[in-house]
Subunit: 224 residues, 4 copies
DNA sequence: CATGAATGAGAGTTCATTCAT
DNA sequence: AATGAATGAACTCTCATTCAT
């Protein structure tokens, strides 16, 4: 149930091509763009880098996209599903809540790691372009809401601190998790900081989350 | 003691001017840059906008700064002290820990609000320029360390969950607070989202922080 | 007999298609081109606008035409007959000369009005492309010659000022009429100028023409 | 008094430079633009041709002008005074009206000849860009009005056909003169047509103008 | 110290035309 | 005969930075 978050709202500005050949070209442009953006960041990527990587001419780009923005949107769109880290669903909600949270957090971290460069990209452009700021917020909101529902359910079952507003608490805890992931997989990775202790981080995050909701721990509490 | 965080590491690339006139010009450039950057963001600000706002010529800029980056550094430097939200120091560390945390968080939020545009700017450039990514991390680390010391002290006094690694816990909780502030004062403010409930947010954040550390609450715990 | 003027000299670069389907496609391209050119002018019309309007693909265009220029030629060719304002022929040359001139001028104005957008187009391209400059001049020359013959005939019948060179006079008076029509139906119409008095304009033009040739007027001259 | 026509309405989009050097550069850009436009026409002239001719970089262009349109406006502006063919004023209005008209027409033709390439340019762009269409019409209107005043004055002195509306007559006769000049100096000159008889053209134009207004001729009328 | 004109590499974008299917 | 994807040369325009005055 924990885990920070995203969802959507997209806009297909140019209709998709009809022929298989067109589909292939468009698709190779999107992959090329993903590679180039991940390599150089959004700002430093030139359209020509993308078309070269896709082995087509500059003009071909405009058969499928109207702008650099639009192909970025397509890249993010294509990666959306994996970024919604499907790990979550696999967790049995009737298990021990602590175990569920631990599993969710781990799934989130793993999905983040898989898409770390894309997340860095999204972070970059959302601080540049309002359209992508909106996109990021929409994706985040979906997870905030999901976690909020989970918190509310725990409260109703008498397991979580009922003094907490579920939505506000979810916002705070989701922010905590997603920011930890960002710092760990993007900032520290790029900055050459000795990669921090992944397992320790995950364990701490989960323990804080559990404590914050005042969930009863499965183990004998006084023992620790 | 809570609150996320920053510190420093600056580089005076050009020595400061000697004459009063020079000092005045340099200073007006920095103020102008701050205004322009806050208004339009780093990328969309042209040097000529800054020099115009400072009522001097384009050439004069290079008497004081070697590049656009450098004047941004100067702007952030100048604002550093207030961005380190001085509220924290005023809190008496021997008071009730919960009250201390509440006061610290409030001080952090207030400082964030005062410098919201600058924080947005820092967020923007730290996702563009490695130099500023470093700067932001250094500032953040100082606060993480400060909060870590505070957590450790609470653990030593038998008040906080000793199963938590103080540094990792501080990273997580500091991230939570700073991200909440960013979302509230930057994202929501710009996005036209009906500004969320400030007091409720602050209260939730503090309660989560207190819970997360398993601090005993001042009030009768079972009552809530 | 008066009225300005055009004639021709065309070049069928691609032989016409044989199959009914081919004829249909070619024809729909020409109509589409006429519509598009009239709407947006020659320069702002893209081939793709034309093919879309004709409901065919970009490639099909080159089955029938070798270039944008060539389809424009086809459009102007197709409209040629009406642009040669057939009204003229209906006038009985043995009638009162003043009445003949009045009728000719009216016929010219009416034909111009019917084809105003095409005339604007021809004006535009004749100032861009030498080929079309030639086309326009050839069409104009035909009318100049026709009017010159008419003037000469009036001179021979002792009705017109014999001091005038028939060809030069025809050039001048034909220019006057065609330019009045252009200003009235193209410039004023587009410019939002309150459309001037059509009848008054026609009457003035005719009176000037008659005066210029020193034709005796049907009514009592001294009376006016 | 006869002669077709122009006047104005301009817009200085970029403020003029302050330093002599700047003034020199701007001025050399305008001259270069005039040369290039006259040589290649508006559409075929590239900004880089102009800056090369002015011996400056592409960027410098934008210090003084925001677009190709704008420098064309400056070119036409600079040439305005001569294009308003100052010859007219030298004619003594109390002389023989026929002589006055002859002199005016000659002055107009000479001014047109001096600026033939520019007139061709104006003709071209006024059929492309509404802004220049407006400019041309404003210039033309000034002359139409001037000639209309002259016609009215002749009517009041009992010399000209009072059945004519002065403004409409002026429009027609001004159109005639300007179109003759255009055909002679632009179309025929470019088209390689053996340049028609200049003196004969002028004489015919004047005679038609005089006849059209029914002015009494100085010489014995029946004699010709 | 101040000025402001000059620079120039480089980006995004357009669209008539070609060509494989 | 028709399709529509692919091409690529060519163009305009930007702006941080330099430099002569």
């Amino acid at each position: 149930m924990p885990a920070a978050s995203e969802s959507d709202g997209e806009l297909p500005d140019r209709e998709l091509p009809i022929t298989p050949r067109g589909l292939r070209t468009r698709s190779s442009l999107v992959s090329a763009a993903r590679r180039v953006f991940e390599e150089s960041g959004y700002l430093d990527s030139r359209l020509i880098d993308i078309t070269r990587a896709a082995r087509c001419s500059a003009g071909t780009f405009y058969t499928y996209f109207t702008s650099k923005e639009e192909i970025l949107a397509a890249v993010l769109e294509q990666a959306r599903d994996d970024m919604l880290h499907p790990g979550t669903e696999r967790v049995d909600p009737h298990e021990n809540p602590v175990a569920v949270i631990a599993a969710s957090n781990r799934a989130y971290f793993e999905a983040y790691q898989r898409n770390a460069k894309l997340m860095a990209l999204l972070e970059q452009v959302s601080n540049i372009d309002p359209e992508f700021r909106r996109l990021r917020r929409e994706r985040a909101d979906a997870f905030v809401r999901r976690n909020a529902r989970s918190i509310e359910s725990l409260q109703n079952r008498g397991l979580a601190d009922t003094a907490l507003d579920p939505l506000l608490a979810s916002r705070a805890l989701s922010s905590m998790i997603s920011r930890l992931a960002f710092n760990h997989f993007v900032v520290d990775a790029a900055g050459g900081r000795s990669a921090a202790d992944y397992e320790g981080l995950l364990e701490t995050a989960t323990r804080l989350w559990v404590n914050a909701l005042r969930l009863p721990r499965g183990d004998d509490e006084s023992a620790r």
